[in-house]
């Protein structure tokens, strides 16, 4: 209590001058003592002298009193800060360069760390995420059929298997299931006239929100009662969609929305921070009970107990251990499989002993983003860490040069009795101030940088960011930025301060530092060497990534993306079935084809590089297989007549799909060159037959044409194109044994490709209007040019290449500044030496060489160290280069040239200045 009171009193008297009181008190004291001494018989002078002696040092009393009165630490700090600000203002070039360098270094690091934190580290915004367990070692998508899964690991489950786990696993207080991946929904608010919007939904079990411990932002969340076969259909909407699309309209709660033409009542709004069970793009905007799946989707996946499409996350009971739960669930899995022994295929029975499952920490949800972006982020982290390192080296250099420049001042202070600790404290204050200023500028830069990156990687249709990663640095990121900026400040502030106080004041004042300049030049040279080496490393990394991107972007895609427009529609969610599809396509074909300026139109399940295709096998009829492990797999898509002309994909032999290929005519197929070469080596494939299945009763296709190899799939983009075939959209195939249609889903043609006449302009609204006049319930998912679709494939590579190039150039600039500083400083140090040389007959060229040689030697050593590092970086990048040469000599040569050139420029300036000095002036200095 007393301490607090004292502290308050000191704070109150902070900065208040109260010298008068102590002066008066001391004076009074001395007067009284003097008076008493006189009374005791001393002469007035002696009485005064004795009084002062008895009192002790007046000055130290005064000082002790002052320290006592207020908070001396803070007052010194304030004085130091004021002095530091004053000194920084007097050196604007130094201050600006330092703050800018720091801001760039800290900004880059923080920006990338924000992404790393959000994608790799952060937990879901749910209650006690550490209690959650997830099924599966790695996230998988989206469907597995049958009674065995990849490598015998069950990572997805059917609804039936989920119920088995839920009802028997006692270690979970709640076990929730939800759809792996999302589902496209055609959304119309009942009673509104706007055309259907395409939104993303997710089927979740009734206890989903309860398991996560998440309450509704408004209204209520789903409950197990909603997830019953005949419950009234309800949905929870995401906060994001509610705010962005519906303007936070409270009447949305309780409103009826038509999802795929089926009425749903919106019962609540999910909290803003909750973006579902996984960080993904797009995030689900509608959460629907699992039991509404058969209600709005034709597939009825729910009641297919051998179709595994659900992810599991459970909350452990207190006291339960993950290992015990995992062991129990493995037993339950075997029980469930045994109960379906009768339906299993022979190979599934053979695989039975291998089947098992794994549980992993589920606090971060289903980590798709981590899986997809971890490697990229690691590269970026490394690159930004190097940039920060270079920035710190640069700042250390600047500080060293600065402190050496102030050597005289420091020596003078020391000679006058300043304590070294006080001088170090002054320098530290200055550097911490600088790093805080740089840090806050860096934070602003980081925010801008992160939102730029997010907009670039995950653009949303409304112009915002489509993924639930906030660009604003959260608390841990803020702490990280502060720690980095402070540590940087202390790291680069301590060395110069310590060195400054190590200077012998007499020596320094007498010799004006000639001796000390030598001792200090080694660390500065080392810093320049490190900078040069790291810059070369970053430049060549940037060069390699750019070269790889260039190679990817300029490869022959096998089709012509120019001018083409791709319109995505979703007839499935609009409720179209089987025989309604062909008339719909005819209407789309006629309506869009009739738009002014359209030269051609074709429909397909998937257009090139839409990053999807159907997969199946190819079995020829008249070939015995070359070997047992011959790979039969191929990809395929359905197309309408005229497809090859519209896509600019030449048919090299035979013909394309035409209007003569109908439901009544024999099944035909067009194959690509690779398929022809692989399955029909050394023979003419035209007229040959193949099946999509090994089963001899499956349908047979006749090959009518061979089309040029073209890229369809993003993950194949850097590899040779695989076997691919095209089937007619009008032909349907049926299994002879069960008389059911084979892959009916492939008849949902979602991609419409338009080829306008050159010069004609087709607006998006024209297209939307044409589609909505056909059917307002048919949602247009996206409209973009084929070039945009292709370009999106390289989006990540482009971003990484651009970012590393930016960081590479930044490091080059920083290294040049560093070299300039060192060369300029050295040249100034040697002014008198240069004067002497010139007086003795050296000409300008020789002086120029003298100065340049020193600088370029440093760069040379830096290059020698950087070269092996760059080669190692090429190895490290490996797969990210997509087959480009990791030891590209051109890239390394250009990087070296760029570094050498900018280094020469940076050194030339001070060298020219040194050589242009007149010998007389030079000798007169000092």
């Amino acid at each position: 209590m007393r301490t607090l009171r004292r502290f308050l009193s000191r704070v109150l008297s902070f900065q208040r001058s109260d010298e008068q009181r102590i002066t008066t008190e001391i004076e009074a004291h001395l007067a009284e003592q003097t008076a008493e001494n006189i009374r005791n018989g001393l002469s007035p002078q002696e009485a005064r002298r004795q009084a002062v002696l008895k009192f002790g040092s007046i000055e130290s009393t005064r000082e002790a009193w002052r320290d006592q009165r207020s908070l001396p630490f803070f007052e010194t700090l304030l004085a130091d800060t004021r002095l530091a600000l004053h000194r920084l203002r007097n050196a604007p070039a130094f201050t600006f360069t330092t703050i800018l360098t720091l801001a760039l270094g800290i900004g880059a690091t923080t920006s990338i760390f924000t992404l790393v934190y959000a994608v790799l580290i952060k937990s879901l915004a749910v209650a006690k995420p550490e209690e959650l367990l997830r099924l599966g070692k790695e996230p998988s998508c989206c469907y597995f059929g049958g009674y065995t899964q990849v490598d015998g690991e069950f990572s997805l489950v059917s609804y039936d298997l989920y119920q088995h786990f839920r009802d028997n696993t006692k270690g979970f207080s709640e076990l929730a299931a939800f759809q792996a991946g999302g589902t496209d929904l055609a959304v119309r608010r009942a009673g509104h006239s706007e055309p259907a919007q395409s939104e993303n939904g997710e089927f979740v079990s009734g206890n989903y929100f309860r398991m996560f411990g998440v309450n509704a932002y408004a209204g209520r969340v789903l409950t197990p009662a909603d997830d019953q076969p005949h419950a009234a259909p309800v949905a929870v909407i995401s906060y994001r969609l509610w705010a962005e699309r519906y303007g936070s309209d409270p009447s949305v709660i309780g409103a009826v929305f038509n999802l795929n033409q089926k009425p749903f009542t919106i019962v609540g709004i999910a909290p803003p921070a909750f973006y579902g069970d996984a960080l993904r793009n797009p995030a689900p905007d509608f959460f629907l009970p699992l039991n509404t799946e058969p209600y709005i989707e034709p597939d009825n996946d729910l009641n297919n107990y051998a179709l595994h499409w659900l992810d599991l996350i459970g909350r452990m009971r207190p006291g339960a251990t993950p290992l015990a739960i995992e062991a129990q669930m493995r037993v339950e899995l075997k029980q469930w499989l045994r109960s379906h022994w009768g339906e299993m295929q022979p190979y599934e029975r053979a695989e039975f002993p291998r089947q098992t499952l794994y549980l992993r920490a589920g606090g971060a949800g289903i980590t798709y983003m981590r899986r997809d972006y971890e490697h990229w982020l690691n590269i970026l982290m490394t690159v930004t860490a190097l940039v920060l390192l270079i920035a710190c080296a640069n700042i250390a250099n600047l500080m060293l040069v600065r402190s050496l420049g102030e050597r005289r001042q420091i020596s003078l202070s020391m000679a006058l009795g300043a304590r070294p600790s006080r001088l170090i404290r002054q320098t530290l204050t200055e550097t911490i101030l600088l790093s805080l200023l740089g840090g806050s500028a860096g934070l602003a830069l980081a925010y801008a940088g992160t939102s730029l990156i997010l907009r670039f990687v995950f653009p949303s249709s409304t112009g915002g960011i489509a993924v639930a990663v906030s660009p604003s640095p959260s608390l841990p990121v803020l702490a990280f930025a502060c720690a980095v900026s402070l540590l940087t400040g202390i790291a680069f502030g301590l060395a110069p301060a310590w060195m400054a106080t190590r200077i012998d004041p007499i020596e320094a004042l007498r010799g004006v530092g000639r001796a000390t300049a030598r001792t200090a030049s080694l660390p500065r040279k080392a810093l320049v060497i490190v900078q040069a080496a790291l810059s070369l490393l970053l430049l060549s990394t940037a060069g390699l990534l750019t070269a790889a991107l260039h190679r990817l972007e300029h490869q022959d895609l096998g089709f012509n993306p120019a001018h083409r427009i791709v319109v995505n529609v979703n007839p499935r969610v609009a409720g179209y079935k089987g025989d309604q599809l062909a008339p719909l396509y005819q209407r789309i074909h006629d309506s869009l084809g009739a738009l002014p300026g359209i030269a051609g139109i074709a429909l397909c399940t998937y257009s090139p590089l839409a990053n999807n295709a159907w997969g199946s096998g190819v079995w020829t009829l008249d070939h015995s297989e070359p070997s047992a492990n011959f790979d039969h797999s191929a990809y395929w898509t359905r197309i309408s007549a005229g497809y090859f002309d519209v896509l600019g994909m030449p048919v090299l032999r035979g013909r394309g799909i035409t209007r003569q290929d109908t439901a009544a005519s024999p099944l035909v197929a067009v194959v690509n060159q690779t398929l022809a070469r692989r399955f029909f080596p050394n023979e003419d494939p035209i007229g040959k037959y193949f099946r999509r299945d090994e089963d001899p009763s499956s349908p047979v296709y006749q090959i009518v044409g061979v089309a040029r190899d073209a890229h369809y799939l993003q993950f194949e983009i850097a590899r040779p194109i695989g076997p691919f075939f095209f089937l007619s959209d009008t032909q349907h195939e049926f299994s002879k044994s069960s008389n059911t249609e084979i892959s009916p889903g492939s008849h949902y043609l979602g991609d419409i490709v338009l080829l306008p006449h050159s010069g004609a302009h087709i607006s998006k609204s024209q297209i939307r209007h044409a589609i909505s006049s056909i059917d307002p319930n048919l949602p247009v998912t996206a409209i973009q040019t084929l070039e945009e679709q292709v370009s999106a494939v390289f989006r990540n590579q482009r971003l990484i290449a651009r970012l590393t190039s930016f960081f590479g150039l930044l490091s080059l600039l920083l290294a040049a500044i560093g070299l300039y500083g060192v060369t300029a400083y050295n040249a100034t140090q040697r002014t008198s030496e240069i004067g002497l040389r010139m007086a003795l007959g050296a000409d300008r060229k020789q002086i120029l060489q003298l100065v340049l040689r020193g600088a370029l030697a440093l760069i040379g050593i830096g290059l020698a160290i950087g070269l092996p590092l760059s080669l190692a970086a090429g190895r490290f990048l490996g797969a990210q280069l997509y087959g480009a040469n990791p030891y590209n000599p051109a890239v390394i040569a250009i990087s070296i040239a760029a570094l050498a050139l900018s280094a020469t420029l940076a050194a030339l300036l001070p060298a020219l200045r040194a050589s242009s000095i007149s010998p007389l002036d030079a000798l007169r200095t000092e």
Binding site: E25, A28, H29, A35
Partner: protein, 115 residues
């Protein structure tokens, strides 16, 4: 020359409080004289150190001060004990006496006393 004992850390505050308790409001010089007199000039207060201590006690609220006139009609700062100061004096006096008696017993104890 006789050695004077330095004032033990922390005991000076107690002496100041006791002085003000006994004599009532007093200026700095008066307090210093009183402490010297009571200790029989054996204790030397380096008089200057008194003033930061007075300020500290005032900040802690144990004493209060105001300007007044000394016996010689000089402007001086007069210190007086507050209620809190009186309580503190009481508590510290007890503590001190206890400590002193323990030390005293310890020092006067003979080898056989407690065996």
């Amino acid at each position: 020359m006789k050695d004077k004992t330095d004032v033990l850390q922390g005991t000076l505050a107690l002496m100041v409080l006791k002085t003000l308790d006994v004599l009532g409001p007093l200026h700095g010089y008066g307090i210093a004289r009183r402490i010297e007199q009571i200790s029989g000039d054996l204790l030397s207060v380096n008089q200057g150190t008194l003033y930061p201590l007075l300020l500290k006690l005032e900040q802690e609220g144990s004493i209060a001060s105001e300007w007044g006139a000394s016996e010689n009609n000089r402007k001086a700062r007069f210190y007086s004990l507050t209620r809190a100061g009186r309580k503190q004096l009481h508590a510290e006096t007890q503590g001190w006496q206890q400590t002193a008696s323990i030390i005293d017993r310890f020092l006067t104890a003979k080898a056989g006393d407690f065996s």
